[in-house]
């Protein structure tokens, strides 16, 4: 089955063929219906293609590979492979608790109505800062990590709800009064990676 990228490439080739047929000489432009055809080929279809391509890129931006393509994120990528189950991000990544292809996005989006869009707008800002601005020496979250993001998956899960530690403070976890990270840390320990043993992802 052709991929969405191949479909886009085919769409682009059709548009280019149409443009070439019209632009070779102005004759078709003056023919009956020629202006409408030219309007489609030179205006509507290229804009449709660009909007479609943008949608594909936005979908790509969820991928772990995309996030880690910036040099500044390399240590965070390494933290996913630390051979120590005590590290929250590594344990989630290595045990398949999150989709490895979308590891960053799964935990760092906000599970609200417009959370995905906000995450992507922040991503745009990150691209701007990384390539055209000045990235800070130490990366910080915009706000403290919300339990909502953890409970999106863990809330209601038997393994989570049945633990007495969780039952005792369930209300505080829901209201974010007590952070999940108070007990479950470190998350991304990027300062102590030198010489650390790394887990190798098995090849399918």
């Amino acid at each position: 089955m052709p991929s969405i990228e191949q479909g886009f490439a085919a769409f682009v080739l059709v548009i280019i063929a149409l443009i070439a047929a019209i632009a070779r000489r102005a004759g078709p432009f003056h023919a009956r219906g020629g202006k409408a055809l030219a309007f489609a080929a030179f205006f509507l279809l290229p804009i449709c293609a660009t909007v479609s391509g943008l949608a594909v890129h936005v979908e790509h931006s969820k991928s772990t590979e995309f996030c880690l393509s910036c040099h500044i994120m390399e240590k965070y990528g390494t933290s996913l492979h630390l051979d120590d189950q005590g590290h929250l991000a590594a344990a989630h990544f290595q045990n398949g608790r999150i989709d490895r292809e979308q590891a960053c996005f799964t935990c760092h989006t906000t599970y609200t109505m417009f959370g995905d869009y906000k995450a992507k707008l922040k991503g745009l800002k990150h691209i701007y800062v990384n390539y055209l601005g000045h990235a800070p020496a130490k990366i910080k979250l915009y706000e403290a990590f919300q339990n909502r993001e953890c409970l999106h998956c863990h809330g209601g899960a038997r393994s989570f709800e049945s633990q007495s530690d969780h039952q005792d403070i369930r209300g505080e976890l829901t209201s974010n009064k007590t952070s999940c990270l108070e007990c479950h840390s470190p998350v991304h320990d990027i300062d102590h990676q030198a010489g650390a043993k790394l887990w190798q992802e098995p090849k399918p």
Binding site: V12, I16, I19, A23, A26, A38, G53, S61, F66, I127
Partner: protein, 66 residues
């Protein structure tokens, strides 16, 4: 071919060239899963397509009425 037709043809060729190259850049950028490819898509591909569409609209708007 009248001089107006020749000028229109040249402008359409310019617009078509810009749009075609822009779309090819956009298509190529989709095969690379990196933040830089998004910049190439939006900055180069999108820019060329926008410029080509602009040239096309100008060539249509500046064409003398039949």
């Amino acid at each position: 071919m009248t001089p107006q037709d020749l000028q229109l043809t040249r402008r359409l060729q310019l617009a078509g060239g810009l749009i075609s190259v822009g779309l090819l850049v956009e298509a190529a950028s989709l095969y690379v899963l990196k933040a830089l490819s998004f910049l190439a898509f939006a900055g180069i591909g999108g820019g060329l397509v926008a410029a080509g569409v602009g040239v096309f609209l100008y060539s249509v708007a500046s064409e003398p009425p039949a």
